[in-house]
Amino acid sequence: MSASERAAATEVPPGAPVATRRLLPLLARLGDRYGTLVGFAAMVLLFCLLRPSTFATWDDLRSIVEQASPILVLAVGLTLVLSTGHFDLSFPGILNLASAGAVLIMTEAHEGWAIAVLIGLAIGLVSGVIAGVGVASGRASSFIITLALSTIWSGLAIGISGARTITDVPTSYLNITFNTVLGIPNAVIVAFCVTLVMFSLMRWSAFGRYTQALGSNASAARLAGIRVSTTQVFAHVLFGLCAGIAAILLSSSSGQYTPSIGSGSLITPFVAVFFGTSVLAARRFNVFGTVVGTLFIGTLQTGMVVLEIAPWVSEVILGAALILILVAVAKRSR
């Protein structure tokens, strides 16, 4: 850890005038705490200035938030799992299999959208149970167990769908995300509810505190009489459910099932969650930070599309923005 080194670095040389000696540490402290949020706000402001006609509109805001919804659902679930000190990389597989299951039950078995939703959630749940039990067994790293699970689910998804893209999805299913309530897209409402639930769990429930205890010191948690395995399993199950919800949002909003629907979804939720640890100098995984992280990435990506920035430049900007905000401005993570 380089906490002390950093502390030394922000120390002011003894010769500096008194005002500076007071001001600089204060600024550093404020920067530590609000740097991430200020960086985010500055970015939004910049986009609004550059393209006010598009960017600062209700329409645009809505599409940013709507597009971020499935990622948000994944990211808040991931926040919970990561706070137990373990990885869960099974969600790309869940996205694939739950989308395939939900869509096929409608196109092949001609069930309604409600059954399809249930199937999607059930697949997420089952995967969560398996992942949780596997991880709680402690036999191998959660990283590889859940990765292997993801591979299996993706394979099965291709197997049951015959590797086809399925587009004749009933309108009722598409309407899940197409409809709005008071102008707010359903997907946003769902994401908001999931976020609220996760926030409450992590903030106010004993279970949420126990996940964090687990992540910090598993043997202390066990000694304190916490049901370590149960907590672990439950965290993965909740995340599995989140992945199921995300799968439904994704397949409904993309209007189809393609065998690659979940691939490429691995990285963004992680970026959002890790970004979140720097928000308000939280230094741990937290739902509020994750929300900020998700919106940050969504806004940045949309902003670059709107400004018609070449993809390679936008990649460079994305990476540089992350590093700038996290390393230069925000508080050290530990």
């Binding site: 006609s53 598009t54 509109t57 329409d59 645009d60 599409s63 709507e66 597009q67 990622i71 291709i158 590797a163 086809r164 893209t165 587009t167 598409l174 995300t177 197409f178 897209p185 909003s253 993309s254 209007g255 189809q256 393609t258 065998p259 690659s260 629907i261 691939s263 490429g264 963004t268 990506q301 949309t302 599309v305 709107v306 018609e308 070449a310 993809p311 990649e315």
Partner: protein, 338 residues
Amino acid sequence: GSSNKGASASNKGSSSSGSLAPGQVANVKKETIGVVDLKRDAPIQDRMDEALEAGGKALGWDVKVTDCNGEPEKVTAAMNAFANEHVNAMIVESIGVESAPRAVQELEEAKAPIIAIGGSVPANSAYAAQYTENETELATILAEKIVEDHPEGAKIGDITLTIAPATVARNEALKEVVAVSGGKAEIVTSAQFELENIVSSTEKIVTDMLTAHPDINSIWGVADDTVQPGIAAILKKHSNAQLYSFYSDPSSLEALRKKGNPLAAVADVNLQEGAIVALDQLVGYFQKNTPIDPNALPALPYKIIDRENVPPEGEETYPLKETLQPYEEKWEKEYPAK
């Protein structure tokens, strides 16, 4: 809010009085066209974009190409952004509009047509027209070329991708040709490359195929991305197998020109034609309110490019100028500068 909203505005014909921008040939009202491109890295997509940009220049239009770099979220974001910007028409290249129903709805309400070009994208009522090549025809001539090249019997190693509609169609065509060949061709083995990891996975499966079946004499590369890693693997295995694939990407043409290169032939079609037809239809729609004709694309000539007929260094299979010229002449005549 944007000032030029929808087709009604364009009919008022407040065209600039005779002064055309450099390169502009027709005197038409300026329109903004949003182009959503899945991945411009892919040479075929780049060809279509170039055609759209050149055609747009000839008409004095603002053609905005968004390169989505293969990321689905960007596709949705791009379509939404175009809808929010109130473009006059949207052209999607090798990608469907399913993921952006709200953008589709807004464009429909604004009477801004959506046209799909390139790649085989599932039919959708949102498209005013779909000007795309026929994958089956394209693949069939390539498969027939394999059979023709191997009178002693074609033993085919099949590199496939079962999760994209276009590659599935091509593979079906291959199987069909093999089935009717009367035993002159045989698919010895088939394996799938990984879409996320094209280079290494293709190299690996071609190597493994040739190790397992040294008698393979033809490799079917179902997508143009498989050409270079396929060549590398064949060379390294010192195999005599010939590679067959699609599209005359610059790097593939170069391989065809090289002596001793295992790339034997590619099947190609002039995809730029579809792009320009789309613009042509849009001009009619905006200037004269003629409805967009879904069957406007003329029958495209599918052709095999092999070591014999490969265009010389510095030339393309389908020079854009040649494709564009008849349309430019047509536009110049119909909408002359005052």
